[in-house]
Each structure stands twice: as C-alpha cells, then as structure tokens.
C-alpha cells in the first residue's frame, strides 16, 4: 500500500498524470506501460474476464470495465459520446480504481482520459512488436485525432518507427498532429488521400472517430506483408476496414467475446477463426507466419490493459509523490461503530 493510513486513497488528477508522464518522459512512460501490459497478457489465464458493462443512450455509451488477477482488482469508467466534441468536451473520458482483493479497500483512484490514450497506444505497439515485419520502418496513420500522436510515440518507443504518413478528412487535424510531433525526431509526410498515406507503409494504423460503418481502408489498399493496427472500429456498428481485407488477413484480438461485438470482426461470422494476442505473446500461438502475410490487430481495448495501466501508475506513486490523498474510506475507531463516528463528529464540532 502506498499510504499508511486506512482511510485515505491516493488520487492522480489530470494535472498530476501529466506531471507523472512528463517526469518519467513520454517514451519511457510508454515503454514501462507496454512492459506491464505485456506482462499481464502473458499471465492472461489468471484474470477474471468479462465483457464491458454498458449503458447505452441515443448520444453515446457509459461503460464499466472490471477485472481482477486474484490479488488486485481494477475497473475503469469510460464514456464514448461522439457529439461531445462539438460542445468542447472530450469524446472519451475515463477514470479508474485499483483495489486490494483481500480487503476490498481501494488503493488508487486515477484520471484515465490521458491514461487510456497512453494504454491504447502502448497496447497497439505491443501487438505490432509481435505481428509487424521485423524490418518495418514506415507507418501510415489514418485519422489524426486525439489518439494519433500517442500511437506515433508508442510505435517510436517500442519499434523505433520514425517515418510517418498522415491522413485525415480534416487537413487541420493532420496539421495539428504534425505540429505536435515535430519536436520528437519523426520524418513526417502529410498526405492528401488515404491511398497516398498507405503508399510504402509497413504498418497502417486506422484511428478515425466516426461512429458508423465506414471503409477507411478498401481492399486494394492493403498490400502483402503489411501490419494493420485497426484502432478506431471499437463499438457495435462502427468499423473501418473493407470486409475483403479481413478475409485476406491473419486476425489477432484481445478478448474474442468482446471483439466479436465491437471490433472489425463484427463483419464476419461469429465463429470466424481469430488468434488471441496473449497466446502469441506467451508463445502458445503463431504470430506473423511470413513476410507476405497481412496481419491485423483488431483493437477494441480490454479491461486487463486498464488494470495494467493502473498497476503501472500505482508503482510510480511513492517515488514521484504525484498524487493527493483523498479521505474516501470511513475509518471509525471501532469498525462496528459507524454511527458513533458520526455523532462524535457532531460533539467535536460543538466543542470547537
């Protein structure tokens, strides 16, 4: 436990999360996060896994994503509201909690808007480390919104990718992405079409925000040997790839019951063969078979990745001190005397 007191829980605000990432360094933070995600994928069978618990409305969705490894429990609250952007709000925001399974007491409460962006990128890079060609050096990023720079940074940190080809329907988004990445040693080409972006790319990252079925990548755009990192298709009815590409690819997923509902493979039969990423990571399944195959990581985000992210942040609290203590858990002197705590607070108020 980070804190000695029974009643307080460390809280990492947005401000402290930014300070934490900058103190560790963006790339080292992404590397440490990726290592934790990879370590947890390696012990996948230990986790209590289930699909997200959603609350759908006309405007979006609110989801709870719980999981546990038997010692620690974590969950994330996350929303997805595409119309938020027009109102100056984030499409996706989140926060999460890490708790001790043995006492049920929370150990960490953290913002997870930034942390989700970081863990999504780190997970993509972990998958690509196992699935992309070893000589991959050029990445196309189609969709240059809030997630795009994090993807670029994670692929640089883990795979050394420095050559980027950017495309977005909105040229201003591409310009924002190019500008934000300019200080990090990338060689960046801003493209006028998605077709231009994928020219010569070894890795294609699709990360658009549109909540409909869409064809960001048509069949002719995926050449032999490419690795597709499909991040944007992540809810029922929202896909980015032409179905024909899926049929030509070796498909890798996080948690099949969830991906079949939310991922690109919702376009395929419910029993279409896919490989689970954790099996590739711990050597139980083959990843890339040869340099001519198309590999596809159908990323939708899974609870264990948030668990890993919370675990990683928790491990940094003591050395950095970048948190506040929240008075979250009632702590009467005698556990059965909750009411006594209340009336003694009144007596103390009157005495003061």
């Amino acid at each position: 436990m980070t804190t000695a007191s029974l009643n307080t829980v460390p809280f990492v605000s947005v401000d402290n999360m930014m300070k934490l990432v900058l103190k560790i360094g963006i790339e080292p933070f992404l590397k440490g996060l990726a290592d934790t995600i990879e370590a947890d994928f390696r012990r996948w069978p230990q986790f209590d896994k289930r699909e997200r618990v959603p609350c759908h409305s006309a405007e979006g969705v609110i989801e709870l994503m719980p999981t546990s490894d038997g010692d620690l429990y974590g969950f994330k609250y996350v929303n997805g509201h595409p119309k938020n952007m027009k109102e100056g709000r984030q499409t996706v925001t989140g926060f999460g909690v890490l708790a001790d399974v043995h006492t049920g007491y929370p150990m960490l409460f953290s913002e997870m808007t930034l942390l989700t962006a970081l863990r999504t990128a780190a997970t993509s890079a972990v998958a690509a480390k196992y699935l992309a060609r070893k000589d991959a050096s050029v990445m196309a990023i189609i969709g240059n919104g809030a997630q795009s720079e994090f993807q670029a940074m994670a692929f640089k940190a883990l795979l050394g990718i420095k050559r980027l080809r950017l495309y977005d329907l909105d040229a201003a988004a591409t310009e924002k992405c190019r500008r934000n990445l300019s200080a990090f040693g990338f060689e960046i080409v801003a493209c006028k079409t998605a077709e231009e972006a994928v020219e010569g790319a070894d890795i294609i990252t699709t990360v658009t925000a549109d909540k409909r079925q869409n064809t960001i990548l048509s069949d002719n755009m995926a050449g032999p040997g490419v690795h597709i990192n499909a991040v944007g298709g992540d809810s029922p009815g929202k896909t980015e790839l032409a179905r024909d590409i899926l049929l030509r690819s070796d498909i890798f997923v996080e948690y099949p019951p969830q991906t079949r509902i939310e991922g690109e493979i919702q376009q395929l039969a419910p029993d279409y063969p896919v490989t689970e990423l954790w099996q590739v990571i711990n050597g139980e399944a083959e990843g890339r078979r040869d340099d001519r195959r198309i590999t596809l990581f159908d990323s939708v985000g899974f609870a264990t990745e948030d668990f890993s992210a919370l675990r990683f942040v928790h491990s940094l609290l003591k050395e950095t001190g970048l948190y506040q203590d929240l008075d979250l858990v009632a702590d009467p002197d005698e556990p059965r005397d909750l009411f006594g705590m209340l009336i003694r607070a009144e007596a103390a108020q009157k005495a003061a």
Copy 2:
C-alpha cells in the same frame, strides 16, 4: 451541474458527508433520502436494471452496482469482507459516481460507506411505511452492529418508532448501540436473548453480520401481524430466517433476480411468489392485507437506492458547499488535442 468548469467533479469525502448529514440533521437527512428513494421506486420501469457485477474471492466480494434512468447514470463500488473487522477495517465500504447520460461526464464522486448505511436504513423504513401495521410502535433489532443505529433512526424519522428492544450475541455491541442512541429520545430495552427481544415487537429487524446460513429467527418467534425487516441476509449462502417463517409470510423484495440469489428467498423455489416493493409503492400491488398477516421485507440493497442516494446528495451540494473540486476530466482547449495539452504542460513547466 454544480460546477461551471468542464474538468472538475465535486467530491464528497467522509468528512464532508458527516458534516452534510449533521448540517441537515440526521432525521431530516434520512427523511429526504427516503423521499428520494420512494420517488425513484415509483418510477421503477424507467430504470435500466441488472444484477450487481461481482468479483468473488475467498475473503469477500467486490461489486459494481450500475443503473440509469435515461438522464442520470449512477454506480456504486462496494466490498463485503467479514474478516476486515478483526483487522480494524470496515466490513463494507463504498464509493459512488453520478454521471450525465447525455455527455458521459461524471457529476459527483462520493464516499458511500456512510451513505450506504443511511440508504439501507431509509429503504427499510420506506418499506415498513407500506408494510407494517399502522399502529406499530415497538421494534426489535437483532444484531447491534454498524447498521443497527441507522435502522433505529430511520424508523423513528419515518414511522415514529421510539420503543426499541435490542439483542446481539455480543452484549458489548448492544451496549454500544444503546449508548449511541441514548440522546435521541428512544425508550430502549437491552435483551439477553433474541426470544426476549421479539416479545411484544410489532416490527422485527434482523441485521446480523455472520456470512453463513443461520437461524436468527426461528419459526415460533414470528407472531401474527408482525413486520419482519430482514436486512442481514444479503449474499449467497447468508440467511437469517427459518424457512418456515418465509412460508407463512407475504414476501416483498426489491429486484427479484438479485434477491433470489442473495436474499432470504434463496431458501425457496426459484418461482416462489414474491411481490415487488415498487408495485406496492405506486399502487399496482397490495401491501399488508390485514392486521394478522406477517409481512417480510427481504432487503438485499439495489442499485436504484444508491442512485437515489447520490441524487439526493448531489441536490444538497450547492446550498451546503460541502465538497471539494477534483481535477478529474482532461479538458484540452481543443478536444482533439489531448497530446497537445500534454506537451504544452511541459512547455509551461519549463517556462516556470
């Protein structure tokens, strides 16, 4: 919204929750809470309902309890670890969040250890208002732990019950309960046996903590016309009443799919007839049929009650100011520019 800023969320700590309850007054707070719970039971069909989402371990359980009325979304995190008491920790602790369904943004983050104790008692009193005899004046409380005083205060606030008969296996718990309630105008009899406690009682509240199947009330202890408020039987394998009492009672429950797993009625066939409390409250079903029947409220606690509690607390924030603002939601100037927010924070740090 309580706060004008997009990125902050009001947080009610344990300390502020105590101040809030004491500022409003314990009984008026319980009344206001009960009114909100009752109002939400009355519009029960509007709610998105599901069983709790549990994570079981050898030592206890961690649960998420989400619900929504289509405009607001709420969830509670709650644990139950009976062995915690020996280690100086609470058996049950909790916290919760209220959010806006239309944006997915959280509106309130609150402690819910105290608030759960209050809402459980308020719900029991709401049920008894509809189910106990109108002339009920004496309540037995069997089990004098953390929940007992809250039950007493809620029954006084809503039904005017002032005569209490207390019993606990541990006489020190009874003495603690008697002492804590001494300033509130009750007439209290400390009893040596459960049989003695139920003598002449119009309402019997059972609220013991043992996590096994138990018989706190044997068949001969439930006389005609009594209302049984069974609070302690609230998880699989944990019951308090002799099965024969159930067979002689009219049984009222919150959400049948959950109560059949967790409540006293886990002792009965899965299709045994029970009445839903919300139907009694909004006039769709009969409550007490006559002064000779035994009525039984098989309370396990349901997500809508926590939702009501969060809604009630949220309604008090503005007038009391008893909260802190947490920097929980990332708020970049341009929603798509989350990464830019991060690197500008670095530039600001260097400039400072």
